[in-house]
């Protein structure tokens, strides 16, 4: 269980996290979505007590993280795959972490096996690929068999097999009754992994709830109709909160109504239908529409001038999120 109350973090003039409150319940996978610079990583660092909140508070399993007597049993975090000294072997890194809590070397070898690092455990971390680094990060998060897991972009850099593995792992951890809080840029990944979403933009929570609800609340459902008499049908059903768009001749998309209502109206007026279907927006579409006003670093392709006289300041500014 993670509970934030009016959590705020300012870096100088910049507000990274702006008065957010949320509760992440145990037994679920909660996805944390937001554009770069939205405040995801900052929020996770605040939960882990790595950064101090400017105001507000956040607790994990009932206490601020720093007050737990055995922090690694409470929370396992993958905050940054690079939070490892590159000169140390994976096994030594895990042993340094384990030693602080008196966790046995047997457990260290267990998490190494679990994350598929056995063959590279004695290699220096500096030589690791991004994917192996992520596996090491997940291994160190799992060391204390924690009740809560906080994973910042866990599938970043993993191959498809690794992505599938993370998906199964987090589902299993949630089914065991643990709290799983993970961020990702991959919306399709979230749609398949998360039970619920917390969407953040410019430091504020934009929306939250079960994945499908979030999608529906943002985009609504669209009813698509193909008919030789599409224009007539459009005239019949439009108005009264129903909006009509026509992507092509003979096809109309209706918002604000249901397939049943459209079908009944067509039958009543003897209109022939070639297709009547409910279109569900993807999470990706919902996300884009939610966050379009809160994208911190926009890459405005249309305005990019690639001529030799380009003013450098008009270049798309796609910074990586500060980690």
């Amino acid at each position: 269980m993670i509970e934030a109350q009016s959590l705020t973090k300012r870096y100088g003039d910049k507000v990274a996290v702006d008065d957010i409150s949320f509760t992440i319940p145990p037994g679920t996978v909660t996805g944390f979505l937001g554009p770069n610079g939205a405040g995801k990583s900052t929020t996770m660092r605040l939960i882990m007590g790595l950064d101090r909140a400017t105001s507000g508070s956040v607790t994990v399993n009932g206490k601020p993280y720093a007050l737990h007597r055995s922090p690694l049993s409470e929370v396992g975090a993958l905050l940054d795959a690079k939070a490892v000294h590159p000169g140390r072997s994976a096994r030594s890194h895990l042993r340094t972490m384990a030693a602080t809590h008196g966790i046995s070397t047997r457990r260290v070898d267990e998490v190494i096996d679990m994350t598929g690092l056995s063959t590279v455990a004695t290699k220096r971390v500096g030589a690791f690929s991004l994917g192996m680094g992520q596996r090491l990060g997940i291994a160190s998060a799992m060391l204390g068999d924690p009740r809560t897991l906080i994973l910042d972009e866990p599938v970043n850099g993993l191959d498809p097999e690794g992505v599938l593995w993370v998906r199964h792992l987090v589902r299993q951890l949630a089914e065991e009754g643990r709290t799983v809080f993970l961020s990702s840029h991959l919306m399709s990944e979230m749609a398949q992994t998360a039970d619920q979403l917390l969407v953040i933009g410019r430091g504020k929570i934009l929306t939250a709830g079960p994945v499908q609800e979030v999608i529906d609340s943002v985009s609504g459902t669209t009813v698509r109709v193909r008919s030789p008499q599409a224009t007539e049908l459009a005239r019949l059903v439009s108005g009264n909160g129903v909006t009509v768009t026509s992507p092509e001749a003979g096809t109309i998309d209706l918002r604000g109504t249901t397939a049943e209502a459209v079908g009944e109206a067509a039958a009543a007026h003897g209109i022939v239908l070639h297709e009547l279907s409910q279109q569900r927006a993807s999470l990706e579409e919902a996300y884009m529409s939610l966050t379009q006003d809160s994208v911190e670093y926009r890459s405005d392709v249309a305005h990019t001038n690639l001529s030799p006289h380009t003013n450098p300041s008009s270049r798309p500014n796609q910074k990586e999120e500060n980690s």
């Binding site: 957010i20 409150s21 509760t23 992440i24 319940p25 145990p26 037994g27 679920t28 909660t30 660092r45 882990m48 007590g49 790595l50 950064d51 101090r52 399993n61 993280y65 720093a66 007597r69 055995s70 922090p71 690694l72 049993s73 929370v75 975090a77 905050l79 940054d80 690079k82 939070a83 490892v84 000294h85 000169g87 140390r88 042993r95 340094t96 972490m97 384990a98 030693a99 602080t100 809590h101 008196g102 966790i103 046995s104 457990r107 160190s140 204390g144 068999d145 924690p146 009740r147 089914e175 065991e176 009754g177 643990r178 619920q196 917390l198 504020k204 929570i205 939250a208 709830g209 980690s323």
Partner: protein
């Protein structure tokens, strides 16, 4: 807005008890820091070069004895000197490498991001600093012993020609050896404290070596009374309160008593660490 996410009805109302026995203790944090130090190649390189540099300087000093003894200007002073001081002259350069180790122990963590893993495991943070300090004291003492022993062995032949082999039965010999180790340990801790405050390796090493080694000789040229007072309390001149200069040509004597010298050196070791303990607790990692 307040986002309350609900638990799905299908999930059982059970919070799993961790199956892994874990309890954070200071002894555990100590062990963690110890493993950290010993599992990095750079530690072994720094420790090895410290002992090697000390031995090499001792060889150099011993080799210079022929010409120094031949010169009536210097031979008189040498005659009164304890050979232990000659042997441990190399500690000044040993301070360079040991200060780099002291810095790296903490700035290496900031540079690589390891510090976030460290502070996530030990969110109270100050025990980490204390454990690092203790581990450094142990390692530096060990390397000082090895460096002095090595210097003793490689110079014993030359020193015996001039009857300068320090007597291991003399308290003066042990006082000098202990003082040398004391300075090395203090240099390591001074650097660790600075490193925790500054976080950058380059800034820490520069600042640390400037204070430890460069300032006394640079400021020595400025003949203003208060500057000279400052110089007397810099680490190297202060150490002359309890360590006679091995090289009689080099007079950094500060006129401080042995006790004052020891206290001044202790302050260099402790004050930055205590400041760092306050700062590290409150600062974003």
């Amino acid at each position: 807005m307040t986002a309350i996410l609900t638990r799905p009805a299908t999930t059982a109302e059970r919070a799993p008890r961790p199956s892994v026995a874990a309890r954070r203790t200071f002894v555990g944090v100590m062990r963690g820091e110890w493993i950290k130090l010993l599992s990095l190649r750079s530690t072994w390189w720094v420790l090895g070069s410290t002992a090697a540099v000390m031995a090499l300087i001792a060889i150099g000093v011993a080799a210079s004895l022929d010409s120094l003894m031949g010169n009536p200007m210097t031979s008189q002073g040498l005659g009164d000197l304890n050979g232990a001081a000659l042997i441990s002259t190399g500690f000044q350069i040993g301070m360079v490498t040991i200060a780099v180790l002291g810095a790296l122990v903490i700035t290496g963590e900031y540079a690589t991001g390891m510090v976030r893993s460290t502070f996530a495991a030990v969110p109270t943070r100050v025990p980490v600093l204390a454990a690092k300090a203790i581990a450094l004291v142990v390692l530096t003492t060990a390397v000082a012993v090895i460096g002095i022993a090595l210097s003793y062995l490689v110079t014993i032949g030359k020193l015996s020609q001039y009857d300068l082999v320090p007597s291991l039965g003399s308290a003066e010999t042990w006082r000098i050896f202990a003082g040398t180790a004391y300075c090395l340990v203090a240099a390591a801790l001074f650097s660790l404290g600075l490193g925790a405050l500054l976080r950058s390796t380059a800034a820490t090493v520069t600042a640390s070596l400037t204070v430890l080694l460069l300032l006394p000789s640079i400021l020595g040229f400025i003949n203003i009374h208060w500057v000279q007072t400052v110089v007397r309390y810099l680490p190297l001149p202060a150490s002359q309160g309890f360590l006679p200069a091995g090289d009689p040509n080099q007079n950094l004597g500060s006129g401080l008593t042995a006790t004052t010298g020891l206290l001044v050196i202790a302050a260099y070791a402790i004050v930055p660490l205590v400041c760092a303990a306050f700062v590290v607790r409150r600062r974003d990692a």
